[in-house]
């Protein structure tokens, strides 16, 4: 097993932590955090231009502080949470890159004689998208760090997410590491049989081979797993035991989040 995947495995919550947030009903956590995400997305973007108005950032700061305090209660490293949420920033910047050129606010900078201009509304939206995506991803990461993946799946099932989709998700969770291990092994096998320093083109070509082989292996493993399922009575539905219970704590947690979401929206 490679070190990266070993680390990744460890970082995914296993449900052995025993504190308040971990013990909440997964449905309460899922609904609360999803609600918060929706509120953040729908809220008005902050105002940077023409006047920088710091108070429009307060709701987001407030949410970040809330998430950080929840993380503290759950004994999750704050640095990890903040850093991991960063992964989304390059993506949101790329996606939002052209927003400043649209929008009908006042023209701030005229680049090509009126045909290409940065508008204030556009710039505000751009900042909004980047900030909001950061906050939303932080919500999701907090959820996954405090909830074992199987519980999330169960909660999604309770929310009537299609069964097939959930089965695919849980198989992904189960087999991702095995597939990653297979890739690592194949890469090692390739490199160990290549004593000379290789040219880039060779790497690209063999990467293609590895991807193809991985596909075939995954396909054949799928067949074997299916046999194993069928031999234990699988007939298209994943059976599950309903063992979730909403308690007082879960309701309080949800109420807290509803209040926060309302505050952000207003």
């Amino acid at each position: 097993m490679s070190i990266e995947s070993e680390n990744m495995k460890r970082s995914m919550s296993e449900g052995n932590a025993n504190n308040l947030i971990h013990r909440l009903d997964p449905r309460a956590k899922l609904l609360s955090l999803m609600g918060l995400v929706v509120a953040v997305v729908l809220s008005d973007p902050p105002s940077v231009i023409p006047q920088f108005n710091p108070s429009t950032f307060f709701p987001y700061l407030f949410v970040i502080l809330l998430l950080l305090s929840l993380a503290t209660i759950s004994k999750i490293s704050l640095i990890t949470l903040l850093k991991r949420s960063m992964v989304v920033i390059p993506f949101s910047i790329v996606v939002a890159l052209f927003l400043p050129f649209f929008g009908n606010g006042d023209v701030v900078v005229d680049l090509v004689f009126g045909s290409l201009a940065l508008s204030s509304h556009g710039i505000n939206t751009f900042v909004g998208v980047v900030v909001k995506s950061y906050v939303c991803v932080m919500c999701i990461i907090l959820l996954t760090m405090t909830t074992p993946f199987p519980s999330i799946i169960k909660a999604l099932g309770w929310l009537r997410v299609p069964e097939t989709y959930l089965q695919v998700l849980s198989f992904l969770y189960r087999y991702m590491f095995i597939l990653m291990e297979e890739v690592t092994n194949m890469k090692r096998a390739r490199d160990s049989r290549n004593p000379n320093k290789a040219r880039r083109i060779w790497y690209i070509r063999t990467a293609g081979l590895i991807a193809g082989t991985l596909f075939i292996r995954a396909y054949e493993r799928g067949e074997r797993v299916y046999s194993a399922m069928v031999s234990r009575g699988y007939e298209g539905r994943m059976p599950s035991l309903g063992r979730m219970r909403m308690g007082m704590k879960d309701w309080i947690f949800m109420c807290m989040f509803i209040t926060v979401s309302a505050y952000i929206l207003v």
Partner: protein, 280 residues
């Protein structure tokens, strides 16, 4: 009643010319422990898949406890695949072991009880403070995964346990543990393997397969001491048999401890012949 009855079974994989099974006939009595041995590609795995109705014979018939209905077969035969990663597909051990019983439509408390018992039966009981049932299969060691894989079929309340190459990835300690586990099992056990020593220790009867056919079957003592036969199908006799052969001793025990006992006895006889003084 016979646990397994195979009558003249022929099987060919789709789009293949060669038959993988060519007229297989054999029987397993209830409570018996049988090994199917054969070199790579002999058709062992193919045969095992028939016991569970996953593959259907092109010709011939298979009966499990007197019936060939697929549902019936699956409720009686627990098939443990060669690679536990193929067998364990759920996010947690609990769900994996509960998968079979839940599919059988059992009530919840019964399922929970069965999961507990099955895990206990393979030596993964919860008393040690380790919450086995909550762990993810991919966080377990290979040997542990193998045990969970066995538990997943035991929880279905099967009568016949069928294992494909159970020792292929185990270290010596794990292999011995598995041997002991199988020896104490009150089930009918069929093992496909080319681990001859394992077959010798665990099984009383041996079936030898080669190129899709059964070439010989009989009690372990006879089959596994037949060096000619084993060599002709690409296998080797257990080390202890080969040692006795090299020493030119007619007796050929196939199990390690029997071999040791025999050697001790022979030594004792020699000492006695020399007048009871081992130092001379």
């Amino acid at each position: 009643m016979r646990a397994i009855e195979v009558n003249d079974v022929w099987y060919r994989y789709p789009n293949q010319k060669e038959y993988a099974l060519k007229g297989i006939n054999f029987e397993v009595e209830e409570g018996e422990k049988v090994a199917i041995i054969g070199a790579n590609g002999a058709g062992k795995s193919t045969l095992l898949l028939h016991f569970n109705g996953i593959l259907k014979p092109e010709r011939g018939e298979i009966k499990i406890m007197g019936d060939s209905d697929v549902r019936w077969m699956r409720s009686k035969v627990g098939l443990v695949f060669q690679n536990p990663d193929d067998q364990l597909f759920c996010p947690t051990v609990f769900e994996d072991v509960a998968f079979g019983p839940l599919n059988m439509g059992l009530p919840e408390e019964e399922v929970v009880k069965r999961v507990e018992n099955a895990l206990k039966a393979v030596g993964l009981s919860e008393d040690g403070g380790v919450k086995w049932s909550e762990r993810a299969p991919h966080h377990l060691s290979y040997g542990e995964r193998q045990r969970v894989a066995i538990a997943t079929v035991l929880s279905m309340g099967v009568d016949i346990l069928v294992l494909d190459e159970p020792t292929s990835n185990l270290d010596p300690k794990m292999r011995e543990d598995l041997m002991e586990l199988l020896l104490t099992f009150p089930y009918t056990v069929v093992v496909a393997t080319h681990d001859i020593e394992f077959a010798a220790e665990v099984c009383e009867r041996i079936v030898v397969m080669d190129k899709g056919e059964i070439v010989e079957e009989g009690v372990a003592e006879r089959i596994l001491s037949d060096m000619e036969l084993l060599r002709s199908v690409g296998l080797r006799a257990p080390t202890i048999v080969r040692i006795f052969e090299e020493l030119g001793i007619d007796e050929k025990p196939v199990r390690f401890h029997d071999g040791v006992e025999t050697l001790k006895r022979l030594k004792q006889i020699r000492i006695n012949q020399r007048g009871g003084d081992p130092t001379t």
